[in-house]
């Protein structure tokens, strides 16, 4: 019969069932008493009939609680009906001197079983108001004369006051039983809770918002090597590392005012007399059912996270070290770049003046040849330096790419123009193989230019006079690809797999003219990878080589800090040549 909402909580269940049971007994007693009355005194007067009707009201109230589950309202209803009945009966039986008045005592007694001070107060107020109203009516002398009963006066007291006393006694007995039950439930609950806490292995603490500990579970002994009582009050707070105290208090504050919080802080272990020894703990904190205006107490679990925390610290140190090394490397690269380019400027520039015979003709053929060789070697060295720097930056993640949409056709045409002179000199034709609807490339423009130039200069270097170089591009799935194919000497199968690995030099098969560091392709491969793409090489000895760079539709820029603007200088001074 108890309402759904109260069935699962043993305490609420007790309150509800007690209420319903007492009202049912009262109501049923009335129904049973009616035939007895009829047998003894015959048909009741109108007033008595009204009393009987009124006495069945508890049945309705019990029904109300059973249907709605509203205990407080049911109690107030009950208090009102009982008080009303007592006043009504007293009006006809002697007013302020009526033998039924003791029944008013039952009103707060009933309410005591609601388990709420507010309801007891309200019920008491109703009973007092009823009594005062009755006294008022009596004093105003507007009450009817006391009904004459065909029984002695003492029997009125017996039938009027005695049941009230017995009823109040029964309520008190029930109340005391419920108190015992509540205590029992609480103890059981406490024991169960403690067992759960112990099983979880965490330390359970209840504390106030200011960090004062009100309870701490015994497991604390294991965690902090101190007894539970030393942490009581300010004991815990005083052991929290000074630097971590704000964090600790923030977590408590957060749990008290907003939501569950967690914090990690260091707590000093062992006796205070010993050398300080801190361990990291994690605290999860939540408010414990506060009742509105007063700051709620908090319950928190403490867990040892020392090992994890120390690992993290080590990792952080290692990361910081790596970052510092990376920055140092970047700075080193920038300096290298400057220091190498400055003397190269003189070497390339002066040898160019000589070969260009700016100050008059070099009479000796050998001198002209040497000047040319110095210039050529200077340019070669510059390319190697550029490749090494680029490769280092790609490897260290310092090469930043900025993808943008651009017209691949223009870029390819531009690159072909840049190597045209060189190709012509070597007796080579450069052809393009571009679709009518050339897909727009979405990539770092400069990186693409560098990749194309590296591939083209390789093709020029490894082709035989009279050969053909084809540069092409096409849509490739959702992305785009470009390729450079030559009819040159080809690459031995054994070397194919190793190509593109930085700092790997191919063993043989090339005459001195083709000497290179192998960095050119590594740079292409690295740049393609930075775009999330890839480089593929197909080659056949004596037939030629085709290198394809595939770029995905959206290139993911790799993280990096800076890069050399080497492309501009290279484009201005000639071509990147390296095998």
């Amino acid at each position: 019969m108890v309402h759904e909402s109260a069935r699962h909580d043993p305490i609420r269940l007790a309150f509800h069932s007690t209420f319903i049971a007492t009202r049912l007994i009262a109501g049923i007693a009335t129904v049973v008493a009616l035939p007895v009355y009829l047998a003894l005194w015959g048909a009741p007067s109108l007033l008595t009939a009204a009393c009987f009707a009124w006495l069945t009201a508890p049945l309705a109230v019990a029904f109300y609680l059973s249907r709605t589950g509203r205990l407080a309202r049911a109690h107030l209803l009950s208090a009102s009906t009982l008080s009303g009945l007592v006043v009504f009966a007293s009006i006809w039986t002697g007013g302020a001197t009526s033998a039924f008045l003791p029944w008013l005592v039952a009103v707060p007694a009933e309410a005591a079983l609601a388990g709420s001070g507010h309801i007891v107060l309200a019920a008491t107020a109703i009973a007092v108001a009823s009594l005062l109203a009755l006294i008022g009516l009596d004093a105003a002398a507007i009450l009817p004369a006391a009904m004459a009963f065909p029984v002695p006066a003492w029997s009125l007291a017996l039938f009027g006051a005695l049941p009230a006393l017995l009823y109040a006694g029964a309520l008190a007995a029930r109340g005391s039983a419920m108190t015992r039950m509540l205590a029992e439930t609480e103890r059981n609950g406490g024991d169960r809770l403690r067992a759960i806490v112990d099983a979880a292995g965490d330390v359970l603490v209840t504390l106030r918002r200011n960090g004062n500990v009100t309870y701490v579970s015994d497991a604390v002994d294991e965690l902090f090597a101190v007894s539970a009582c030393t942490l009581a009050g300010e004991g815990l707070f005083s052991r929290v590392h000074v630097a971590d105290r704000p964090e600790f208090l923030r977590a408590l504050d957060g749990a008290a005012t907003r939501d569950d919080t967690s914090a990690e802080f260091r707590v000093r272990c062992g006796p205070l007399a010993a050398a300080p020894n801190y361990i990291w703990v994690e605290m999860r904190c939540r408010a414990m059912g506060g009742s509105g205006d007063t700051a709620p107490d908090l319950v928190a679990t403490l867990r040892d996270v020392d090992a994890r925390k120390r690992d993290e610290t080590h990792q952080g140190d290692a990361r910081e070290k790596a970052e510092r090394a990376s920055i140092a490397k970047g700075r080193f690269l920038a300096n290298m770049s400057h220091e190498l380019r400055t003397p190269l400027n003189a070497i390339i520039g002066f040898s160019e003046i000589l070969t260009g015979e700016l100050y008059g003709r070099l009479e000796n053929e050998k001198h002209r040849e040497y000047a040319g060789l110095i210039h050529e070697s200077g340019n070669h060295l510059l390319e190697v330096v550029n490749d090494i720097l680029d490769m280092s930056r790609i490897e260290t993640g310092n090469f930043e790419i900025f993808p943008e949409p651009f017209d691949g056709k223009d870029l390819i045409a531009g690159c072909c123009k840049l190597v045209a002179g060189q190709a012509e000199e070597a007796g080579l034709r450069i052809e393009t193989d571009l679709p009518h609807a050339m897909p727009e490339l979405y990539a770092d423009r400069r990186a693409c230019k560098q990749m194309l130039l590296n591939l083209l200069s390789n093709a020029v270097k490894f082709s035989r006079s009279g050969g053909r170089i084809v540069v092409g591009a096409y849509r490739d799935g959702t992305g785009a690809s470009f390729y450079v194919a030559d009819e040159g000497i080809g690459i031995p199968r054994a070397d194919l797999a190793r190509l593109g690995d930085p700092f790997v030099q191919l063993k043989q098969g090339f005459d001195s003219r083709h000497a290179g560091t192998g960095l050119g392709l590594s740079v292409v491969k690295g740049l393609a990878a930075l775009h999330g793409g890839q480089m593929d090489i197909e080659s056949e000895i004596g037939a030629g080589t085709r290198v394809t760079v595939r770029l995905p539709h959206t290139s993911m820029p790799a993280p990096g800090v800076e890069r050399l603007a080497s492309g501009e200088g290279v484009a201005a001074s000639g071509f990147r040549m390296s095998a």
Binding site: S337, H338, P343, A346, G569, A572
Partner: protein, 128 residues
């Protein structure tokens, strides 16, 4: 009369290279290794063009360029930055700093002369 070019460059060899190239092309040069001296020389000689190394020992070539561009008397003189310090964003930074052009080291002789001639308004230069 030969056009005058002020070269601000701290590296001796590069100074010589630029000087010889410019002289070979019929220009007159004024040289300084110090950015701090550049202003004084510019006021004194009123050069037609300034070649500015960006990495100078005392003050940055960018600072010197800014001084020139803020000077009522000198701000019309074109400044070409020449630098080996060619990191990402340098070109933008240098152009923003007021330089008319930017040449990265190592230079290409042909490109170098072409750029200089362009900013002097010499189609053919005044070669010897």
């Amino acid at each position: 009369m030969a056009k005058k070019i002020l070269i601000v460059e701290d590296n001796e060899l590069n100074m010589k290279l630029f000087n010889d190239l410019l002289v070979a092309n019929g220009y007159e040069t004024i040289q300084t290794r110090q950015g701090t001296e550049a202003m004084k020389l510019a006021r004194e000689h009123k050069p037609d063009l300034i070649l500015m190394d960006i990495q100078l020992p005392e003050v940055s070539g960018l600072d010197v360029t800014r001084w020139i561009k803020e000077d009522d008397e000198l701000h019309t003189i074109p400044v070409i930055a020449v630098t080996a310090f060619a990191m990402k964003g340098d070109e933008e930074r240098i152009r923003k700093g007021g330089c008319e052009a930017y040449i990265s080291k190592p230079i290409s002789v042909a490109k170098f002369i072409e750029t200089v001639k362009h900013y002097l308004g010499d189609g053919q230069g005044n070669a010897v």
